[in-house]
């Protein structure tokens, strides 16, 4: 095959420009990889989730109720668009696992006798489902079984409704309802300390005295059903039985967490690849503008001998396309590999029975199209400027660059700078767009680093706030039902308990006009020092003697401010339901005016809480409101760490306890999980930022060197040392890198803010905290990458051929 001379030129150009071309291709590869990685993982995860949901009939509407008769099933099934209904008994139990000192928490869920449930069916990984005829059989979720190395036939003990039962595992299962399974009081899943157990309905109802009744409901709907309406109708049906409010998938914990993850992937797909493609377009523009400026006379000659504009444009377009293709190939391989890895990682973190890898060819075409388009867009102006010149003019050298005096009229003011510095400044100002874009490109790597690094600041702050300022207890014990205040004495008698603080909870709907929010109101003692309430400035506040303290998120959602009055409907006081207008509460000390379960309370303050939706009251005020005397739902305790094992042993044998949340372990577990994630993402982001910085700084320095080789060689001739000559170029790079810092900090703050916004949900919120260290680290990484790229270019300055450049005309 005989290559066209122009193609030979192309190959030689590529051979000459390989380092710069590769730097650009790497930036492109980052864009392609992040696109394929995020969209690929998103699609795979989404597809896997949908398939699991479809095949295992994941519910669309869920509800909890205190105790409702099973005959409601007919009424609920009859609702328009409802396709299947499953009534269940769902209760927390305390587990005693062999070889584990601390108690674990189990969520016992009933299964229909002899059959899979109609809603939220189980995927049976091993063994069989429990049989109704055998009291002690359970199926456990896979994550829990794996954490303990359980196989069918293994046994463990559980405190179920006050009695200790020995349970035998018959099967290991996965459920679409518990893809992300998180225990009470935990912030990240702990597979060891939390497990979901499935038991036959007749056995479980027997243990909990729930014969002929249910306390949990899941239903599926027909496609395109109006779930909002169904939720209202289910609420109406369940209300008399202490319904705590039906909710759709978006409020279902597992679904919501999975959704948050998917949203994050989607955000990554829409934000990061465009940054890289933008930078690579700019870099291509820079390189090609310079190449074409150098080849201006050749282009004129080609035109003079009869090449058309089309073939010249195509010649340069091919150069750009080759660079883009290299980027595309590297990016595709990396993206495929990382995407696969990420999906597998998600598969482990979330509990899926199978993983569907969506191989999206469209994605590769999209990535290819977008990358090449970005590269060509970058090249367009440079090519066009030259091609549009008549050959005779193109063959002549371009007119010399005209510089202007900055700070005109302040010539004397410049005397504080050396001429070398003035050279650097003038050059920067002569090409303001290029200077700006180079600065912007560099600042994006600073911003990217801040976005990656700030998470650790925010989470440290969150841990500090939650575990060291607010919930300072070592554990939270919850009774299986509300108890008399004397139960606190029993808690205090448990081994190692140094302090116990009571709390009471109740499910309620808080309303403001048409806005309403279902949530738990927690009554706490004003003497509490373990678990404290924090105001928005994170200062400890006492629970108000009357009225509510709402978390910021709730106040925002309900548009409530301190001093406003809000209407409260208690979900569990089911016998008395009246809805009438409410009078205002007058004085703090007066009991809240109540008509039926509807109350009107003032909002006393706004509290800061990063997890869940909270509303707090003083314990006595809650008791008064509930009209059933003094009760407590559980206690927060401080424990002598030397006696932890004894306490654990006692808790496992205390019938009255419904569940235990171990804050200390939660905190460690949370930190561990988050730290792992942060280290992984930090490594990736640092690599990305280094590639950007290197791509931008190296290319811009190379181009400056090419443009100014003659100037710099002249300086060497006049007796300037290598260091002095390099300083001209290095000053320019330094100015750009310095200017990029504040801009990068600002952009990084903005990115971080939008990440926080993306995360914000009813489940949790992350405070936006960026320490100065984070800004400093981002800056240092970019400095380091810039210095390395500058030094590589500096070596070229050292090797300038003085004699040759002086003989040539620019």
């Amino acid at each position: 095959m005989i290559l066209h001379p122009l193609d030979k030129k192309l190959l030689r150009d590529l051979g000459r420009l390989w380092a710069q071309g590769l730097a650009v291709a790497m930036v492109m590869a980052c864009g392609v990889a992040t696109l394929i990685l995020s969209v690929g993982a998103y699609r795979s995860l989404d597809e896997t989730r949908s398939a699991f949901y479809d095949r295992y009939r994941f519910g669309s509407v869920f509800a909890s109720v205190v105790r409702a008769p099973v005959h409601l099933k007919e009424q609920i099934s009859a609702l328009h668009d409802v396709s299947a209904v499953e009534q269940r008994t769902v209760k927390f139990v305390i587990l005693d696992i062999p070889g584990m000192t601390e108690p674990a928490t189990g969520l016992a869920v009933s299964l229909p006798d002899f059959d899979q449930p109609a809603v939220n069916r189980l995927y049976l990984r091993k063994g069989r489902l429990p049989e109704p005829s055998r009291t002690n059989e359970v199926a456990v979720v896979e994550t829990f079984a794996e954490a303990h190395g359980f196989v069918p036939g293994d046994r463990f003990e559980a405190v179920i409704n006050g009695s200790k039962q020995s349970l035998t595992i018959t099967g290991i299962v996965l459920s679409p309802e518990f893809i992300y399974a998180i225990g009470p009081g935990d912030m990240v899943p702990d597979q060891r300390r939390f497990g979901v157990l499935f038991m036959s309905r007749s056995v479980l109802s027997g243990l909990f005295d729930m014969d002929g009744a249910f306390n949990d409901l899941a239903l599926t709907t027909l496609r395109n059903a109006d779930t909002t309406r169904i939720i209202e109708e289910v609420d109406a049906i369940l209300k008399p039985y202490g319904g705590t409010g039906a909710y759709g998938r978006k409020d279902q914990t597992s679904h919501a967490f999975l959704d948050a993850e998917l949203t994050q992937l989607k955000a990554m797909a829409t934000v990061i690849p465009p940054i890289f493609l933008f930078i690579s377009a700019f870099l291509v523009n820079m390189i090609l503008s310079r190449l074409i400026a150098l080849e201006r006379e050749q282009i004129g000659l080609l035109k003079a001998v009869g090449y058309g504009n089309g073939s010249i444009v195509w010649h340069y377009a091919k150069l750009v396309i080759v660079i883009a293709l290299v980027g595309l190939i590297i990016g595709s391989i990396a993206g495929y590999w990382l995407g696969h890895g990420l999906t597998v990682l998600y598969g482990e973190f979330f509990s899926f029975p199978f993983l569907i890898f969506r191989q999206s060819t469209d994605l590769y075409f999209l990535a290819g199209g977008v990358t090449i388009a970005a590269a060509l867009a970058g090249a367009a102006k440079a090519v066009w400027t030259t091609v549009s010149l008549p050959p005779a003019i193109a063959m002549r050298p371009p007119a010399p660059t005209v510089y202007r005096s900055f700070l005109a009229g302040f010539q004397r003011g410049l005397s504080m700078f050396s001429q070398l510095t003035i050279m650097a400044f003038r050059h920067l100002l002569r090409w303001p767009v290029r200077t700006f874009l180079t600065t912007l490109g560099t600042s994006l790597s600073v911003a990217l680093l801040i976005t990656a690094l700030f998470a650790s600041d925010s989470i440290d702050f969150m841990i500090d706030t939650i575990f060291f300022k607010a919930d300072r207890q070592d554990a939270t014990l919850s009774f299986s039902g509300d108890r008399a205040p004397s139960a606190l004495n029993d808690v205090k008698k448990l081994p190692g308990v140094m302090r116990a603080e009571p709390f009471r909870t109740t499910a309620a709907t808080i309303r403001n006009g048409h806005l309403e929010q279902r949530m738990t109101i927690i009554g706490v003692s004003e003497e509490a020092i373990l678990s404290r309430l924090l105001d928005v400035e994170l200062q400890s506040v006492e629970p108000p003697p009357n009225g509510l303290l709402l978390s910021e998120r709730v106040a925002y959602k309900l548009r409530l401010r301190p001093g406003d009055h809000t209407e409260i409907e208690l979900q569990e006081r089911n016998q008395r339901i009246v809805s009438v207008p409410i009078a205002a509460v007058e004085k703090d000390t007066d009991p809240p005016e109540r008509i039926g379960s509807l109350l009107n309370l003032p909002v006393i303050g706004i509290e800061q809480s990063y997890v869940g939706l909270t509303a707090h009251m003083r314990l006595e005020a809650l008791d008064r409101m509930m009209l059933d005397g003094r009760k407590i739902s559980g206690a927060r305790i401080a424990v002598d760490s030397a006696k932890l094992d004894e306490l654990y042993e006692a808790v496992k044998n205390t019938p009255a306890l419904g569940s235990i949340a171990l804050q200390g372990i939660s905190r460690d577990r949370f930190r561990e999980t988050i730290e792992q994630n942060i280290i992984t993402s930090m490594t990736v982001y640092i690599a990305l930022a280094v590639i950007i910085t290197f791509g931008v700084i190296y290319n811009s320095a190379r181009i400056q060197l090419s443009e100014r080789a003659r100037e710099l060689a002249s300086l060497r001739v006049f007796g300037f040392t290598r260091a002095e000559v390099s300083s001209v170029l290095l000053t320019e790079i330094a100015v750009i890198v310095l200017l990029a810092q504040p801009l990068g900090w600002l952009l990084g703050y903005g990115f971080a803010w939008s990440v926080i916004q993306g995360f914000e949900s009813d489940l949790f919120r992350i405070p936006l905290i960026i320490h100065s260290d984070t800004f400093a680290i981002a800056t240092l990484v970019v400095f380091a990458a810039a210095i390395v790229s500058a030094l590589i270019v500096r070596r070229r300055i050292d090797r300038l051929d003085l004699v040759r450049v002086l003989k040539t005309r620019e």
Partner: protein
């Protein structure tokens, strides 16, 4: 005869590119004397620029010796050569080599900032009759003016030698003469040893001495008994 500023003995320079060997200088012996204006005349490729580059410390010789006063230049390190250029030599090139981002004054100041006892940039520029154009950028000056800025820049540090490589090569005769006048003026006024490389034979008439080159060797050395004023030169 005055003292020799440069003394060159047996200077040879061989360029190798691949298998091709070019002998640019072939055993040259030459001296440049204090205060003289010498014209190095010869066709292109005769080795005169190579010689100038070597005595100016821009290039090294393959063999032979270059002495600058009592120093052996050919034994200098890279660093010493840089210092030598900085302290002792002024260069003027065919294509001016001005820094486009600096004004005329700043181009001169560029060099005076790093010199031991320079003249004021303004003084140097008025010696080449450019006091009115000091704040212009190179792109705003004509070729002759640019070359005069280059001369001002070269002499502002009061160098001992001024090495000019085809200083009028890119100029028409009228502007070329202005440039030569400037060089002659400086030679007289400051007594700077000046070597002018040219292939233009007309220029030889303004020199004290004319050294002719052919094929990397000196073919003749001729002392002008009567010198012409640059204004009288015609080409």
């Amino acid at each position: 005869m005055a003292n020799a500023v440069f003394r060159v003995t047996g200077l040879t320079k061989i360029y190798r590119t691949g298998d091709v060997e070019v002998r640019a200088l072939n055993g040259v012996d030459m001296e440049l004397f204090e205060g003289e204006m010498a014209v190095l005349l010869g066709p292109s490729g005769s080795g005169k620029s190579t010689l100038l580059n070597i005595i100016g410390g821009l290039d090294d010789a393959t063999s032979g010796e270059v002495r600058f006063r009592d120093q052996e230049l050919s034994a200098y390190s890279e660093r010493q050569l840089t210092k030598f250029r900085r302290d002792h030599v002024g260069f003027v090139f065919q294509f001016y080599n001005l820094i486009p981002s600096l004004t005329a004054r700043e181009n001169v100041a560029l060099v005076t900032e790093v010199s031991k006892s320079p003249m004021e940039p303004e003084t140097a520029l008025s010696m080449v009759d450019l006091e009115d154009r000091m704040d212009h950028f190179p792109a705003q000056l004509s070729g002759g003016e640019q070359q005069r800025v280059a001369i001002a820049r070269a002499i502002a540090k009061r160098p001992e030698v001024l090495l000019c490589d085809e200083p009028t090569g890119a100029l028409d005769s009228k502007t070329g003469i202005l440039v030569l006048e400037a060089l002659a003026h400086i030679n007289e006024e400051l007594g700077t040893t000046t070597a002018i490389i040219t292939h233009n034979a007309a220029i030889q008439q303004i020199a004290h001495r004319v050294i002719s080159f052919i094929d990397g060797k000196i073919s003749s050395v001729h002392v002008n008994q009567t010198r012409l004023d640059p204004a009288e030169v015609v080409w």
